[in-house]
């Protein structure tokens, strides 16, 4: 691999080199990852920014050497669609950078700060007679530091917890006595998780080091020689986790897992073997493996990952196990979109993305058949294709370690997401029976709660700001800290809408943020979840905007539309609301609504509670 990358760079075929670089996985040989990560730095910046449209700034503040780590975080973030400019502190200066408000860090203007710290930075003794004050002091030290970092630099902060050691000076008492080093580290980790400041996100290196093996994780010689706290072979896994969190911060996490059925959710072929013949559930080792996998999938679904099925089967056969097999953990109702036919799978995946109203690049494909993976991977390169192992017992581990569904907060909307789509199907059926669209909207009996952004809804608002691509006028992303800073600003207008209807709750689905300049209100963000498209929510938002402007004696509303690859849907949004276009500066269009002369076209059918 290295030789191929080298040859392409030598021939200045940077595009082709970048293809190879972006294909390297954390499980590949360390030398290849290190090489690819270094070579990424040699690709012309122009080319990288064309291929990777989101650009962010990451400061890595180290309690250990960071030089080996930084290129790899850049590599794996790039693979997730975030090109990073990076800043590294001098070794060990992670606290000084924050408390002294380092001018170089200030000048760098980080979007994210990552503290690369470990147990080595704790200076805890191997045993303490009175451990509680020591743990408390360390908790205060790090919580205080992380809070200050987020507040002073107004950015997201990714922090580590602390890894327990593989060595036990107190033997079997290690876990029993609260005074041992490992007991204190465990206590500190719990305290840190409980007290973590809002804009901070936790990278669980205690879990990661245990998963990879404590003996592999820490290389004492490497620490003694270069103050490197994680072994070279574990660097890629660490970097990939941090990169996945960065991806999640900027809306790059995947939304939907598309599953095959035969030999993916159960053993055997339902069309040939029948309900009694497929292997699933207790009593058969393979059957247990498939059931274990289903149990993991159910947990994904419960935290808001959509599950879809793309199977080459007769629909009746494909559905039969979901309806009749006693050991089937996944039910029909867990699947947000069920496609069983004889079409090529790339077509099925397109159709799934269309029906769920999400981008094809939000899909992850899991299929035991390498030919199907090859087809989907080559015809839909935006889809993440999991390299499914032969053995079903390894399915859970493989999917888990791909880190594709990273989430930084689970909101109520996430837990209900699968159901939204179920309800949508009912809504569509209603639509089919209604005489007119207005009639359909009326029959939906929509009720809205309109309120500003508050501490209670800020997590969901931040999530929506960072993941909405289609109905999003400016695609301006923001960290929770940035959103929070709007709350007390008297010149800022914020509005959110929560929409219910006769089929259930849609949750919080609309956000508008504006800023008063003299006698006009400039809209900075206007975005909405696509699951409530064409329901009149934007008209309700407009109504609230007008009411606000009248109350404040503002005369105009100014809106911007910044086109991206995904938001063509709203290119005429302001035109439809009665705005007139006043400028097109190449980056986007500017629209004006004069309260004295212009009118909003027509009403909506939403009752405000």
């Amino acid at each position: 691999m290295n030789a191929e990358i080298r040859a392409r760079i030598k021939e200045r075929r940077f595009d082709a080199a970048l293809d190879l670089i972006l294909r390297v996985r954390p499980t590949d040989p360390t030398e290849e990852i290190e090489y690819a990560a270094d070579q990424l730095g040699k690709i012309p910046a122009q080319l990288v920014s064309e291929r990777v449209p989101t650009h962010k700034r990451l400061a890595i503040l180290g309690g250990a050497t960071t030089q080996f780590l930084t290129p790899q975080i850049r590599l794996f973030a790039c693979q997730r669609g975030v090109a990073l400019a990076t800043y590294e502190s001098d070794f060990g200066l992670f606290e000084q950078e924050i408390w002294s408000e380092s001018p170089t860090l200030r000048q760098f203007e980080p979007d994210v700060i990552h503290f690369h710290v470990s147990s080595r930075n704790l200076a805890l003794p191997l045993f303490a007679e009175d451990p509680a004050p020591l743990v408390r002091a360390q908790t205060e030290r790090f919580v205080g530091l992380y809070r200050a970092a987020g507040e002073r630099f107004r950015c997201a902060v990714i922090v580590n917890n602390f890894e327990t050691s593989g060595e036990r000076a107190y033997g079997a008492l290690d876990a029993l006595s609260p005074g041992t080093h490992n007991s204190m580290v465990r206590e500190l980790n719990s305290a840190l998780a409980r007290a973590l400041p809002v804009q901070c996100y936790l990278n669980d290196i205690e879990q990661l080091s245990a998963t990879l093996g404590k003996g592999r994780w820490f290389d004492p010689r490497l620490w003694n020689e270069t103050k490197t706290a994680v072994s070279f072979e574990c660097h890629p896994h660490y970097a990939d986790r941090v990169a996945a969190m960065i991806g999640a911060l900027f809306g790059k996490s995947k939304k939907c897992l598309v599953l095959d059925l035969d030999n993916t959710l159960w053993g055997g072929v339902i069309g040939d073997d029948g309900i009694a013949g497929i292997r699933l559930g207790a009593g058969n080792p393979e059957g247990e493996a498939f059931q274990e996998f289903q149990s993991y999938l159910k947990a994904l679904k419960a935290r808001g990952i959509l599950l879809a099925v793309a199977s080459k089967n007769e629909l009746e056969n494909a559905l039969a196990p979901f309806r009749e097999h006693p050991d089937m953990l996944l039910k029909e109702s867990d699947i947000s979109c069920f496609v069983a036919n004889w079409e090529p799978k790339d077509k099925s995946l397109r159709s799934i993305a269309g029906q769920l109203n999400i981008g094809v690049d939000s899909l992850v494909f899991f299929d035991d058949n390498p030919a199907e993976r090859e087809l989907v991977g080559s015809s839909l390169p935006q889809v993440t294709v999991i390299d499914v192992p032969q053995d079903p017992s390894a399915y859970v581990q493989t999917l888990d370690r791909a880190n594709v569904f990273e989430t930084l907060a689970v909101t109520q909307e996430d837990q209900l997401r699968g159901e939204f789509f179920q309800q949508n199907q009912a809504r569509e059926l209603l639509g089919a029976g209604a005489e007119s669209y207005e009639e359909f909207l009326r029959r939906l009996e929509m009720r809205a709660v309109v309120e500003p952004i508050t501490a209670a809804n800020i997590a969901r608002v931040t999530q929506l700001i960072n993941k909405t691509n289609q109905f999003n006028l400016t695609t301006r992303r923001a960290t929770e800290a940035e959103v929070r800073s709007l709350l007390d600003d008297p010149d800022v207008y914020t509005s959110t809408i929560r929409l219910d209807d006769r089929f259930g709750s849609n949750g919080l689905i609309s956000v508008v943020i504006g800023r008063v300049h003299a006698d006009s209100l400039a809209i900075e963000n206007w975005l909405m979840s696509c699951r409530v498209l064409k329901r009149g929510v934007e008209l309700l938002e407009m109504e609230r905007l007008l009411a606000y402007c009248r109350a404040k004696n503002l005369r105009t509303i100014i809106g911007r539309y910044l086109p991206t690859a995904k938001n063509k849907l709203v290119s005429r949004h302001y035109a439809e609301l009665g705005f007139e276009e006043i400028e097109n500066d190449g980056a986007g269009t500017t629209w004006r609504f004069a309260l004295a002369t212009q009118r909003v076209p027509h009403g909506h059918f939403i009752t405000v509670q």
């Binding site: 030398e31 290190e34 090489y35 030089q67 490497l222 070279f232």
Partner: protein, 79 residues
């Protein structure tokens, strides 16, 4: 079967990203662009993996050139 020098040369070329590196016994850190203390650690870890040997802490710092490095590898391999 390539000899140890050739094997080592491949590791150097890959790590320092330079196909033109030609090692001799007298090649030292000053002769290779980018051979600093951090790269040196990566170099040693790669040598250990390729030759299935293990250097102890501080041992590597004492080696002055490629010839001494090869001798050290030979000795560890029991040749």
């Amino acid at each position: 079967m390539p000899g140890n020098l050739e094997k080592l040369q491949e590791i150097f070329r890959d790590l320092f990203d330079d196909d033109d590196i030609v090692l001799s016994d007298s090649t030292a850190a000053k002769d290779i662009d980018g051979w600093d203390s951090l790269k040196n650690v990566m170099l040693i870890v790669r040598i250990e993996k390729a030759f299935k040997v293990r250097f102890s802490t501080g041992e590597v710092v004492a080696l002055r050139n490629v010839g001494e490095l090869l001798d050290a590898i030979d000795k560890k391999l029991g040749r």
